[in-house]
């Protein structure tokens, strides 16, 4: 009897632990946000209830949430691909922006007679450019051991500089004024799924990418090997996995996903590229990947959660005067506590005794 019950209890405990691991950063973030709300004399419960209503209360609100979650699906996967191999890529933001510009460029510069083939062409070009962009730090890390955190962080600023220059110079739209490229052709725009909301075909592409990531990471040899590199480099080398090749491969994959994400945001949401294209989707994607512990399901939940926060934040500001910045407070706290090792306090206390 006990022999049968034991593994089950173990599994239950493991699930509980994992669930707690997922919820812990978010709980802390809600506590922090509550303290701030209480400090300014607002009822946190009312605020959070309002936020839930505003993000999931009706079909329209749900589609707004999913629309806000769309770019995060891509940046979350792009981050997770690298993180699980122990490659600390913080350059998803840059690749996303580069992908957005490249996608939009195909969308408005080619002849409209390409018709609907513009969409795959734009996505392909963006994927190639995103991959090339992150190939740089990948190569530098694999070959010269150049710290990827710094190189990708610096490349983010370079990407912003280059795209900022292009949309204010060579690619500036002549008719619509400042800081934007011309609109992409109508055939190149991703269809809206539930008008009047801005939910667009990019969400479906994101789900496909997410599913592909889920299969790749759990069902293929490459996916397994790349996770192994993240878990134990020496062991991986001993069993014949090439670490430099894995590093470059996951960087390229990350660039492809981020590039497609940027292009779908350009083609589906804005229909062009504009200065300030990404309000930090790459960094929120990092929070999503960390919160979801690099699993496909976790990333989906994380992206929807942050999408809900973003879409609710705007309307909560309208209804209750609570500044939109509460969303940043929650996001920052989640990021910080997603990397805190929960068990460590208890462990150390035990050891010292």
């Amino acid at each position: 009897m006990s022999e049968v019950a034991l593994p089950q209890r173990f599994r239950f405990a493991a699930w509980l632990e994992r669930g707690f691991g997922l919820a812990f950063p978010f709980i802390v973030a809600l506590v922090v946000a509550s303290i701030i709300l209480l400090a300014v004399g607002q009822n946190p419960v009312d605020t959070f209830t309002l936020m839930v209503q505003e993000s999931f209360g009706s079909t329209r609100r749900i589609s707004a949430t999913l629309s806000a979650a769309t770019p995060l699906l891509f940046t979350g996967v792009a981050t997770a691909v690298c993180f699980r191999s122990g490659v600390f890529n913080v350059g998803v933001e840059g690749a996303f922006v580069i992908g957005g510009l490249c996608g939009a460029f195909i969308g408005f510069s080619l002849s409209a007679s390409f018709g609907f083939s513009l969409i795959p062409l734009a996505l392909l070009f963006a994927a190639i450019c995103g991959a090339l962009w992150l190939y740089i730090p990948g190569y530098l890390l694999a070959r010269f051991d150049v710290d990827e955190v710094v190189s990708t962080l610096m490349l983010n600023f370079v990407a912003l500089g280059i795209t900022g220059y292009l949309v204010n110079g060579p690619l500036l739209s002549e008719i619509s004024g400042n800081n934007v490229t011309p609109l992409v052709h109508e055939a190149a725009q991703l269809p809206r799924l539930l008008p009047p909301s801005t939910l667009h075909g990019g969400f479906l592409i994101g789900l496909v990418v997410l599913a592909a990531y889920g299969l790749w990471s759990t069902r293929t040899a490459y996916g397994f090997e790349s996770a192994l590199v993240g878990l134990n480099k020496r062991f991986s080398r001993a069993v014949g996995i090439s670490i430099p090749r894995t590093i470059i491969a996951v960087m390229i994959l990350s660039g492809i996903v981020a590039g497609i994400g940027g292009a779908s945001h350009a083609l589906g949401q804005l229909h062009r590229f504009a200065d300030g294209f990404s309000p930090g989707y790459g960094f929120t994607g990092m929070a999503v990947a960390l919160l979801g512990r690099n699993t496909a399901v976790g990333i989906l939940l994380g992206a929807i959660l942050f999408g809900a926060l973003a879409s609710a934040g705007t309307t909560v500001q309208l209804f209750s005067d609570i500044p939109l910045d509460i969303v940043n407070i929650i996001e920052g706290t989640v990021m910080i506590f997603a990397v805190v090792e929960i068990g460590r306090f208890a462990l150390r206390r035990r050891r010292s005794k």
Binding site: I36, V40, F88, V90, L140, R143, F144, D145, V146, D147, V149, V150, S151, L153, M154, L155, F157, V158, G161, I162, G164, Y165, N168, G169, G280, F283, M286, A287, L290, P323, L324, D325, I326, V327, N328, I329, I330, E331, G332, T333, V334, M335, I336, F337, A338, V339, V340, E341, R344, F345
Partner: protein
Amino acid sequence: MIIDQVLAASIALTTPILLAAMGGLVNRQGGIVNIALDAKMLAGAFVAVVVSSATGNWFAAILAAAFVGASVGLVFSLVITRAGANMIVAGLGLNVLVAGVLGFILNWFYDSSGTLRLQDVALLPHIFGDGVKDIPIVGLTLSRLDPLTIFAWLTVLCLPWALANTRAGLRVRATGNAPKVAHAMGISELRVQDGTTMFAGFFSGLAGAHLALASIGLFNEGLTAGRGFIALAAFYFGRDRPVTTALVCLLFGFLDATQIRMQTAGLPPKLIGTIPYLMVLVALCIAGWRNRRTKDQLA
């Protein structure tokens, strides 16, 4: 005339980067890469404006800014050293969190989105006044010299000595370079790291105070404009050596000061703005290439 102005602007624009870079450099020598310098600068700038307006005293303002920077640094450090958080993610998270908190405060208490203008903000004084203005070339720079700039450059002069010869300096370097040795010597690495992160916060707070109080006297959400990351670039490029890093900061300050002039000469400012970051990439590549060559030779 142009040389005077460029020199004065370069020195003024170097100061905040230099202060933050000195803090980050010590932090990195102690083994922590501080990605959150920008957040602490922003917090310092905000507090400096508020305190300066409330007290009318610039010294109280910069002290408060440094204190807040150090406190944020301590919290950040505890999360890393005691709770085992990854320093990069925690740093990026802190940047988001601090921006959120400041935005919230601005919105809620000052009913403003983005900019804080207060009455009677005391600016940093000019030490030599206008009397020295007539000295050729350096006159304008000298007449605008503020205490924080002098403090920053004094730090540059003192740091190499302090890191090489004082007990604290040696402990910091031991902790960063050989944590196990430091541990064996009975140095508490965690405490040293907390100390260096507070030090970095202190200097970043001062950097923020300089940004806000050197000439404009107001706070803006985009005030730092990524200068914390430029400082990071500077001490990476300067390989954690104070004097080299200071020279790199000066170069970045010069680039910043001449941006507008270069723009009129036909060079796009956005592309010029990427130069510091590209320089770091190149420097990292050269360092990596060199390491690899020596390794190959040994093998």
